[in-house]
Symmetry: C2
Subunit: 366 residues, 2 copies
DNA sequence: TATAGTTAGTTAAACGTTTAAGCAGTTTGA
DNA sequence: TCAAACTGCTTAAACGTTTAACTAACTATA
């Protein structure tokens, strides 16, 4: 055994301990042929026995399964998928996995699909259109039986998604979905969510409600903006252009846009931010400037990321029921995959949200 | 088109809009045979042309690639993997994806492996031994070329991991790795990390340093405990059994153990928590009880989860350089996969950490 | 000018399954 | 009693590639 320092860059310092050892003598993997040889029957009979085909006797089935067990037989997915034309794999494309929303959706997709014998391949677009195209190519290459995706912010060109459809592979979109594609979609009612938030803020006595939103080109953010504007109208509050801002909804964007709002001659008394990360940025600015939340300015976020209930003050937010979105997306796929008919139903599932009122907008308990 | 209310349970309310439309007439996927037919050459020639085999003329190569493009050819991974015995897929097993640490590791594994033509399949064990075994079976079934894993907390029986090794499939462990398995491992120096933390707290003037740790049976937590104890000894601080607690390091555990520490006749003046989630729980309790952080009790976490810099006060924590861990894990796999020799080197890479001093333990700036 | 070497392919088998079709031998039924 | 039906298999082809081995047609060499 010897020690070896292999690198030193920045703060990272690694020690590698190397040991020479014999590579395992790799046993050739057992196949159905091996099982067939042991029992002196045909490989086809083994295959059928393992699939509980009624045309095989119970006696033979038992024997096959016993031998399979003994030989540590592991079916070869590649071969069966190639032959049957079904890979039993479903591709998932998300902008990123490290948001609670997406990882929760993924977890639930997996749960539902695993029960039906499917496994999932997760790919990340990192909000980049180019990467998203690569993800789609990867998944098509892997011969997935279906794709469940939430589009990258950047994406406007849908030709890659059309490619999926044109190959006859079921495509289900969630959260960020484009209407024009005519595919199954699972999401929430963004328009209505905005209405709920604005109503809540008005009930708290707010009169000048600002909105830090996402870009209009993304449908969900556009809907939130529309809902915000219509709610103001409905409650006879004046619309004010300077109170409506668009950005990418990162923490930094939230800080920047909040500062912009604070610089106004006539400051808002409430800010509805279309994403929790940006809401956090806004909160940091408000805290730094010692502005009382919620009495001076009330704050509402969107998405109920875990940290929204961890920061001080806790941030009122919209819970999107990510687990249900995941479940429904998976169910949509299963629905689709079971049908063999020439016509297919297009399903759009819209789930209701829940407003979680927390300290950042709860004037009555502050 | 018709509207249909499909469910109503709890707060979730979904509307399904159904549309009947014609299923796409599924074009049969193009294969190399189709390309061969167009050009009147053999399928083998097409395959070679696509792989830039030197025995094929540039002219033919160009023609093949052109036709492939025109016919929208997508290679069939199942067939090539089956034939070549290499699936170009690498399995990843993590306890969960919704921690920043793991999702960052995954992202970097993916980045490195994608460049080499590999794709990854992510599976989650949810900290359950049973689920972990299922993950392994799934991955073996999918014929992955290698497995990169971080073990579930629960796991003590290593026979499933032995199964991977016995099939000759490269196995690389990170973060939570068992020494006895004799496989490549990437991790940090937990022992030293504890020493760094204790030293920092002593420099802040702390004299009664408590440790809310993970369970000793998990190697990394055991090492953190050992490091903590040895550091106390080294700085001539008395060891005190009541200041050393073990738990699962959830938020709730953190709350509970912090309350336990506060109930002591002789309270600690610093608490080092072996995980950020538990540290957050501890912080909540301290805030609720209006205990001054860091002057009355200083707090240090572990893992640098994003929220540790978002809460009030911000929590001092250990950055594990997750991106580097991911990169190194991927590189270890690539290293392994390239070698065909009968002997193999066993590599353990230990990365250094960084202590990020924040408000929760920074007495000088408070 | 025979021989070896190179070029640019072709042929056919193989990877491990699944599955349609076939076929003995037995059982059933009118 | 004999056709029909059933039982429990076997045979062989197929899924889409890759690849070892072969070949035909040139080209270079001695």
């Amino acid at each position: 055994m010897f020690f070896l320092i292999i690198m030193y860059y920045g703060v990272i310092f690694a020690i590698t301990i190397k040991q020479i050892y014999k590579k395992n003598s790799i046993k050739k993997k057992t196949t159905i042929k091996d099982i067939a040889n042991v029992l002196n029957i045909s490989a086809a009979a083994v295959s059928k026995a393992l699939h509980n085909d009624p045309r095989i006797s119970d006696k033979t089935k038992k024997a096959v399964k016993q031998v399979a067990e003994n030989l540590n037989y592991q079916p070869n997915h590649l071969a069966s998928a190639l032959r049957s034309g079904k890979s039993k794999l479903v591709g998932v494309i998300v902008p990123r996995t490290n948001s609670n929303f997406f990882s929760s959706v993924i977890q639930n997709i997996e749960q539902v699909l695993n029960k039906e014998g499917y496994n999932i391949i997760i790919t990340q677009s990192n909000e980049s259109f180019k990467k998203e195209c690569e993800c789609i190519d990867t998944l098509l290459y892997t011969q997935v039986d279906g794709i469940i995706a939430s589009m990258a912010n950047q994406t406007t060109d849908l030709s890659y998604y059309e490619k999926i459809k044109s190959k006859g592979i079921p495509l289900i979109l969630f959260d960020r979905g484009e209407n024009d594609l005519n595919v199954d979609y699972i999401g929430i009612d963004d328009y209505n969510s905005s209405q709920i938030i604005v109503k809540h803020l008005i009930e708290q006595g707010c009169k000048r409600i600002a909105h830090i939103g996402g870009y209009k080109r993304t449908r969900i953010f556009n809907n939130r903006i529309k809902g915000y504007l219509d709610a103001l109208k409905k409650h006879h509050l004046p619309l004010n252009e300077e109170l409506l801002l668009e950005c990418d909804l990162t923490i930094e964007d939230g800080r920047e846009k909040m500062l912009q709002l604070l610089a106004l001659k006539n400051r808002p008394d409430a800010v509805y931010v279309a994403g929790d990360y940006a809401a956090l940025g806004a909160l940091q600015v408000l805290n730094e400037q010692k502005i009382n939340i919620p009495n001076e300015i009330a704050l509402v976020g969107f998405g109920n990321e875990p940290f929204s209930s961890m920061v001080t003050p806790t941030i009122t937010s919209i819970e999107q029921h990510s687990s249900e979105i995941g479940k429904q997306a998976a169910l949509s796929f299963l629905d689709y995959s079971k049908k063999e008919t020439i016509t297919q139903t297009l399903t759009k599932k819209i789930l209701d949200v829940a407003l979680l009122v927390r300290a950042s907008s709860d004037r009555k308990n502050s």
